[in-house]
Symmetry: D2
Subunit: 344 residues, 4 copies
């Protein structure tokens, strides 16, 4: 059994990874790390895990020591030293934060106010979006797990951009996220009575997943691509819905679009391109690693409307991390990720 350790296990992404890893046929949780719960059982933070995962939270050193692969689910800025330590100790490492997502240090500096401490590590890091960059991940010992919004938007648009069916200018990504996306830390605006029956946008046009999306879409389109991204918060626990708008190149038909998406995603287990007449819904991917995508055309304005839905905690975080682990370690990419999403 592969020994997998999780640093930051009491945050939402870490706790979700515990749930998913527990069902992996070839891996076991070797240790869970937490600063706030050190010395206490994980089920103290999450009573749903009572008697099922009562492991005592440890410090990061001990987690690394006990593990073949280490996942870090930490606020940005805290992963680089851990990555270096894992690297030196010959461990595999997956960063669920933003520290290794950027090719250009400038992007990281500007949006995260940090710097590349070990530049050579960043060169080794693969960006862990398997459906677009699988081969890079396979050979890597250090993977940067993508941001949740970046996953949903990049998957929704990549085939259309790659195939040149849409213009790379004027793309809009209008997204909505469930509240787990803001983390477990309590805040006034996530207090139940304030969030219930509400919906608002936030960081309109200036959210820091923007450069991450642009990096991926630029790679895919082969030219510098900019997008306007606005996230919203909705009163559900899980899920991201990305409604993406792009100008169709003259004469482009739905058939051409479907062909491009089928070509890119036809063999992907975790991407479900929905049939005509269906629309992606966060409900249908909850608690699963699937990304549902539906394609629509506004014919009177010649606009592609690509809608994607993921569970922000699974394909947008823990599930994709485990998918990356599977690839890094040469396991079946789907291992531990094949459960049906609940129907309701």
């Amino acid at each position: 059994m592969i020994r997998a350790g999780i640093i930051g296990a009491t945050g939402y992404a870490g706790a979700e990874l515990v749930r998913i890893l527990s069902g992996h046929p070839d891996a076991e949780i070797s240790a869970v790390g937490s600063v706030s719960y050190e010395g206490k059982p994980l089920s103290g933070a999450y009573p749903a895990y009572y008697r099922l995962c009562d492991k005592i939270c440890e410090n990061e050193k001990d987690v690394i020591k006990k593990s073949d692969i280490v996942f870090a689910a930490l606020p940005s800025g805290l992963s680089q030293k851990i990555a270096q330590e894992c690297f030196c100790a010959g461990k595999f490492f997956i960063d669920m934060g933003a520290d290794f997502r950027f090719k250009r240090e400038n992007d990281y500096r500007r949006w995260y106010h940090g710097k590349f401490i070990f530049p050579e590590l960043h060169e080794k890091a693969a960006y862990g979006l398997p459906e677009l960059f699988r081969e890079n991940i396979k050979g890597s010992r250090l993977v940067a797990n993508p941001g949740c919004y970046a996953t949903a938007v990049s998957l929704a648009l990549a085939p259309a951009l790659e195939s040149g069916l849409i213009s790379p200018d004027g793309i809009i990504a209008d997204c909505s996220s469930g509240v787990t996306g803001s983390g477990r830390k309590i805040t006034q605006n996530t207090h139940f009575p304030e969030l219930n029956e509400s919906m608002t946008a936030y960081k309109a046009g200036c959210h820091r997943h923007t450069p991450e999306m642009e990096q991926t879409l630029s790679t895919v389109s082969g030219k510098e691509t900019h997008i306007t991204f606005v996230p919203h918060l909705i009163p559900v626990s899980r899920g991201i819905l990305a409604t993406c708008y792009a100008k169709l190149k003259p004469g482009v038909t739905m058939e051409q679009l479907r062909n491009a998406y089928e070509k890119r995603y036809g063999r992907e287990f975790f991407i479900r391109l929905l049939p005509d007449g269906c629309t992606a819904d966060i409900k249908n991917v909850r608690l699963s690693n699937f990304c549902d995508i539906s394609l629509h055309i506004d014919s009177h304005t010649k606009t592609l409307i690509a809608v994607s839905a993921i569970d922000n905690m699974v394909k947008g975080a823990a599930g994709q991390a485990m998918q990356n682990m599977n690839l890094m370690l040469g396991l079946d990419e789907k291992a531990g990720l094949t459960s049906l999403p609940p129907a309701f």
Copy 2:
């Protein structure tokens, strides 16, 4: 006291109008009409009204007879004959459906599959969006109350278009609505366990509020204007959030934008232009006739992001209808509409 009658009082818009009219200082509910509840008390359909509005539902003839002004909250296609009847009997009439919203019969034919039965009535009808067309409403005896999405989107964009600060091409209106927007009729997808924890788009790029928005925005901009409109359904009871995207003309600043919105809306009681740093939220307008608007610029793509929030049942239906009634009858436009929205 003005005698106000409501046809279609057991639908959501009609029932909401009952609630709002009950608080009007100068009007009283003379009669409520319903086909499905004829002969039964309105509170049979809505137990919240028990002992407060136990009026017996009547047929439409009787409602008209007992009223000075008649509101029709009916499925599209059913209002034209009622309007004609009211007109002949010298009554004021407000249609909360789509029958009188279009200037061009072709739009109505194409999107609603109906025709103009009494073309001269359509010429008399005013489009009841007071903040943009107040003077037309004041002199009218027949008002077409706007659609909920059309209200939110038109108000969000009008000043920017009118002042020429944005391009009329490539506008996107990405909207989300609470479930009351789909009406009281039960359907599988509005069954609680199916809708709870879900979010999806519907009628992407082909919803029939599109031509209504385009008619208003074309009037305001002075040129044929097209937009891409995608509505979504979210698991809340009330509210519409409209996130609208438009290309800024070169060099346009936030200051210019705010000036244009202030100039248009500065004296409007029901429009609250939010200060910088705030974003419109459906929570803050619930159960009120307010439309909150916040302005944002994505400076790296030179895009205006205008966000508006209304209660789809109030400013998007019953409240705006009452505002129109006030204007038609020469009352204080705000009468009966000044309650504070609940803080939570």
Copy 3:
């Protein structure tokens, strides 16, 4: 106009009182007090009030000075000195906390760990449950507004106890509350993703509204009465549902029960005794001062099941406080409290 001041206006109960008082025909809000928002506008805490109540929060001294009647919506223990100050200054005072609810200092000591600082004030205080103790309230300048659970349970059971139709032994009050009941202070268990889709009991058998209920029910029944009370937290914003169980005396019929309730509540505007076949629902009283009550008999165990529903923030807090104000000042008891509850 009566000048009404609110100390603790940024808590939920205080903010709700602002909303309700704003609609009062004979009173105006003279000042709002807050420690955390002193010097800032109330709408900074509640953007729903933007431009409608932008009053600057003041300290308690200033609030008292500017007011004829003072409401204190404060944590328990903080009202006694304010009450004394108001008393000396000849102001009316309504305490929305627990400081003046108990006749016996021992109850207050045991459950709230406080003491009676000015015992003579406690003798003057009336317990503000108008439907049971109206005459005491009318003559009073100091009213203790009841707890939300205590209101729902006392109203549900009083007529049956008073009339001797149920046994005073073995009464169970099983209640559920919306989340505003726990206040505006953020906590882990009221963080949206933790509370959403949850339901649990808390303080089972040891909640401090128990002695308050017992004090009222003992008064009503004329003998020491004990009850078992368990509150639950449910994922809605507002509302308390109280399902109360009591042993019927031998041979008691539904007709006798209805007569007892009709006799007690038949002329009460704010209590709606529902017809047979209906059951009280928190939805139907939201944002209103009504208490809906339905009566049911389990004939095979000879048990009365009395179900009551209130809005915990209105009849359970701010609305009842305003009802008490109306009584204290000799106004129409219903003034400002007659709006219809929303139908949805």
Copy 4:
């Protein structure tokens, strides 16, 4: 692989069984049956299953033919003939409805208005509550899967009754259920805007799970036991919380209670007796087969408050059915049921 067929697969319980069975290591879904979807893929009813379970729905005959064990998730009254057919064909049969739950035909007649068509089958049927009647289930080919409320209440009270620590008189079971408990059929009161932000009781004192609870509790206590049962509907999708009240026998302590529960449930995987200070919450058992139980004493009224939480669709339906299948077929009782509940 064991071939398992599901009749009534498009209802909520049937669809949930599809999800759970899909993860079983030793069984596979041989066929799914549905009247309303016959000839169509199951994923047409539940798009969450798209590409994962696109099996075509068949009629019941074909389902039986293709299966070693048949589950019927049907309205009451429709299972007896199917059971007989399975019995004659030598198949195992689990009825998820009420047809085989009663020992006494009179109970079934009175509460379900049906009769025992094949009385000998009823004698063979085991009542499938494994934690109380495991040995009966092991030897059986026909199991009646318990009702959801009956499961939650029986498990909460059995050890206390069995050990004689509480009085069998005057027991109250106050329960709340998520909306999936009312099934997939659309109704006005489960329309999202009507149910959202609501809570009400229904069938107070006369719900037909009452005799089922009484049958089990009478068996356990060894004497005819009656209870008062009131269910409530709350705006969540899944979960039952049962708050049960019973008079403690004189002098009974929490330690004695815990010992009785530990003795009965200490080795049960699916029952988690929570430590002192914790309270059962439906959130912590969602999507799992666990039943969490917490014990509380109201010492001033000498009352046991036993709170249990289950997922009504899993331990209350499909999960328990699969647990029964495992027992009937001699498999590991936990097979396919060991996933962690989601932490949020």
